[in-house]
């Protein structure tokens, strides 16, 4: 019944039933509460994590499907807010209520991992699966561009 995977660089074995959504394994069994529950139907993006580098909605991902794979949550960006995206989010004071922001950051991180100079259209395409009910979209867009510029300079 258990599932072995790598979460944020550490090997873990989850004992939740194989059909349990990855979201609830991450939150309730592993105690990583940065990843949020918003809709349970892959409509809002609050639960976005990376599986082998790809952004996925963890509320619709059975834990069995990530056996042997690498899972990364918002906690993997950095604890001390040193990731360029975290820095840009702080610089632009992006979050309001903040509930969706873990998912926004993980979608943005996936975008920047393959596109260091995203256009507005690229950002729209990568981010349109993430709802922000507080409407922080203009600041998210500005922060992504800012972080991308930083990452281009430092690579």
């Amino acid at each position: 019944m258990s599932t072995t995977m790598n979460v944020n660089g550490k090997a873990v074995t989850a004992r939740s039933e194989p059909d349990t959504p990855l979201l609830w394994v991450i939150r309730d069994e592993l105690g990583l509460s940065g990843t949020k529950f918003g809709c349970g139907a892959a409509l809002c993006g609050a639960c976005t994590v990376h599986v082998n580098g790809q952004p996925v909605r963890s509320c619709q991902t059975p834990v069995a499907s990530v056996a042997g794979k690498k899972v990364a949550t918002v906690e993997s960006l950095s604890k001390n807010n040193s990731h360029p995206l975290q820095k840009a989010w702080i610089k632009h004071d992006v979050p309001q209520c903040g509930y969706c922001q873990s998912g926004q950051l993980m979608s943005a991180a996936a975008l920047l991992s393959k596109n260091k100079n995203p256009s507005d259209a690229d950002i729209d395409a990568a981010m349109s699966g993430n709802i922000c009910r507080c409407g922080t979209y203009p600041r998210i867009k500005a922060a992504i561009k800012d972080a991308a510029a930083t990452m281009r300079k430092t690579v």
Binding site: S16, D28, V74, C97, G98, Y137
Partner: protein
Amino acid sequence: MSTNQTSRRDFLKTSSLAAGGLLMGFALPGAKVEAQAAGTVYTPNAWVHIADDNTITLISARSEMGQGVYTSMPMLIAEELNVDINQIKVSIAPPAAVYVNALLGAQITGGSTSVRDGWEKLRVGGAQVREMLISAAADEWKVDRSKLKAERGMVLGPKGRKASYGSLAAAAARLPVPEKVALKDPKDFKIVGKRIKRLDTPSKVNGTAEFGIDVKLPGLVYASLEQCPVIGGKVLGFDASKAKGMPGVIDVVQISDGVAVVADTYWHAVKARKELSVQWEEGPGATLDHKAVLASTRAAADSGKVLPIGKPTGNVAEAMKSAVKVMQAEYITPMQAHAPLEPMNFTAHFENGKILLIGPTQFQQGAHGAVAGVLGLKPEDVTLKTTFLGGGFGRRLELDFVIQAAQISKAVGKPVKLLWTREDDMTHDYYRPLGLNQVQAGLDAKGMPVAFQHKVTSQSITQRAFGLPKDTLDPFMAEAAVAPYAIANTQHDLVIHDSGMRVGYWRAVSHNMNAFANESFMDELAASAGKDPYQYRMALLKDKPRFARVLKLVAEKSGWGRPLPKGRARGIALMEGYDTYMAQVAEVSVKNGEIKVHRVTVAADLGRMVNPDTVEAQIQSSIVFGMSAALMQEITLDKGRVQQTNYNNYPVVRMHESPKIDIVLVPSKEKPGGIGEPATALVVPAIANAVAAATGKRVRKLPLTPEAIRAA
């Protein structure tokens, strides 16, 4: 035109709340705030805690739901306390009388009141503690206190003597709180009015901010609650035999609102809930649908008791008769769900006749008092802690989910986190009521209005929530009903109609329906007169400088009157709400009925501002929130069941639909206005007017869906 409306903000303190009403018995305990510091903590007053390790904790009595109060409230205290805003910590206040919102008469976060309520009282709170610290130093150093000053967390004396606030806190906390303190001249402000970075941002970019859903307690179990598909229905009976056999299930218990499955994990609770079989007494709501809600509202508009909003001016009936032309229109704003991204939840731990409640609420006093009342506990046996709120928008003013968590915990005798599904949340909201606004204008030979009549028919939330007596004007239904325009003969009326829906306060409340009607109709009048809608409004604002200024500014900033790319058009709208004067211009294009909002320009005069960056963030937020309502959202019912269940059939604006937003803030020395809500209401008529300009089609019933536009 008279703007002599009953003031919203004086309302709750003078009506049912103070007189008894629902909140009778919602006694508030004394203040006991957890300071975020090790060692001994001293509390000179309710707003400031100073630990002997020099950690300074400032208290926000308002819930942080995105609007930035965990920064703006401490900024006001810190301005007078003279501490570095980046060196302090912030705590949320517990339920206590000292933290009551004077503008609403209860400990509530809502109504865009936080800064307006706190503007003076928090600065006084900071100044009191500053003076106490100075007095403590003067006593210790045996010098005249007039020779001392307080700066950046230190009291400074003659010959370079200095002492940290932390070292003086014990002595200061024993001193009497000074009644009268001098406040700074605003020109000397060092913190207030500056673009200060939000203090909660760091915790919101690394997953450490604690929302209700994140609360952890030793031995915590999880609950999922099956409620009647028809709101208000009751449990007749249930069969839990299958559910109880599911993995991890601890118990299945009936509470007032339904049947709760309690399990060792949330997912186990949700899975087992699907195996429940519940029989319901659906109640009178089972016959309700949205068409009936509209039909009964329209019938009430014709026959219901009419309550005057403000005082009529002139003689409307006579002026209509002698008018060259009379125009009339009816505008409909549909029901809405709040749909904050964090579904309703609360954590409760009932033990030994006492209860601990932890979670996201906009209404500490209500949550505390309601649980005490329902469980029959003394106020002092109820402890309430507020987490971050994953959105509020009015939904978390309600107490249903708090009471449910408390009842479940009491039934199972364990700490319980109740978490709703998104579907629970969408189908068991307290919905924004339907609004029916009927307007009529008499015009002179030049097409200018000489008579204006506006009848608002909708449902009173205040009757349900606060026991407002029937046949009494509900000021939360009359907001922005009286527009600023100079018209000689006017009459505004309200008809309150109970449609059978369960209704709640929704961001910007009745500004939404009233501004949509007034500002759409102004454009219709301008069009009828063959005049530019900006110039038409301006001609009616001769004695309204704050309105005229924001209107002029928004026209300039948006390029009003200048050519646009083919297919694009602009719409303009003007309103006062929450003491904030605002004008907006929306720039849209329409293809096959699909509206694209390219740009929204906002000019706002909200008096003095605490944090202009947060002001801009709130305007941006409100624009996106209002756009969702204008373009996409509508709650409908079939046989009493809400048909919208998730973000697929109750969509919200997404990144690719979000417009460019340009904001002009007017420097002002007027008293602060609220900014969490007004732009939400005003963007709706701005868009509707732009759509009419682009297509020639006037849509008077929201939302502005492609079907509605093609059918117009």
